[in-house]
């Protein structure tokens, strides 16, 4: 019974990792590649680690596996966001068939600050909201 579970989890994990690799090779755009990497590879590696935990069935292995999975779940989106932001600043173009670019014209190219549409009003409100002592 436990062997079948190990086979299913490891097979699904390897399949997701393979899909992530194919997506990295075939996707037309950096942002799409980052998206594929983050989601599919996280799920695939998580399933592979779960199969290892099911094989050993010890508390020490289980804690290690849970630590690695939580660490990957926390750090993968952070790293993807950072590298995608950098890619936008470096000036990499979106794919030609991309429909919408929400950040277009909203990033200050020299200071790397994101301007909102009503930034001045927000700053005024912040000044007003500060209590005068």
């Amino acid at each position: 019974m436990i062997d079948i579970l190990i086979c299913i989890t490891s097979g699904l994990g390897a399949l997701f990792v393979l899909l992530a690799a194919v997506g990295t090779l075939r996707m037309p755009d950096q942002y799409l590649r980052i998206s594929v990497n983050t989601k599919a590879a996280t799920l695939g590696v998580g399933l592979l680690l779960v199969s290892a935990a099911l094989f050993f069935l010890e508390i020490s292995v289980f804690t290690r596996v849970v630590t690695v999975i939580i660490f990957i779940l926390i750090t993968a989106p952070v790293g993807a966001h950072l590298i995608g932001r950098t890619s936008y600043f470096i000036g990499n173009e979106l794919w030609g068939d991309s429909v919408i670019d929400d950040l277009k014209g909203k990033y200050n190219k020299s200071t790397h600050e994101l301007k909102g549409e009503d930034k001045e009003n927000e700053s005024e409100n912040e000044k007003d909201s500060i209590p005068k002592t």
């Binding site: 097979g11 390897a14 590649r33 094989f55 292995v61 630590t67 790293g79």
Partner: protein, 91 residues
């Protein structure tokens, strides 16, 4: 066919093929961001290979190395993103 054979003859070759595909993107990648992303994915696939290898060789100690590798992958991505953005800012 027991679990050992299944992992050794099916899962490990799939992981090897996927890491080869990522290597193609790593060498081909038009910009440096592609290479950083491919490197991140390579280390992530390495974590999976270590997990399967610890099952095959029946040594759970290898799972410690996967934790260190996850840490290194995150640090590498963050450092590359930080310095690439900074280099672009100073130009």
């Amino acid at each position: 066919m027991n679990v050992h054979d299944f992992l050794y003859y099916i899962i490990l070759p799939i992981l090897s093929i996927s890491s080869l595909l990522v290597f193609v993107r790593f060498f081909k990648g038009p910009s440096i961001v592609d290479r950083v992303v491919a490197l991140d994915l390579l280390i992530t696939i390495g974590i999976g290979i270590i997990a399967i290898y610890s099952v095959i060789s029946d040594k759970p100690t290898f799972l410690d190395i996967s934790l260190v590798l996850a840490l290194i992958a995150f640090l590498g991505t963050v450092a590359f993103a930080y310095y690439l953005e900074k280099r672009n800012k100073n130009d």
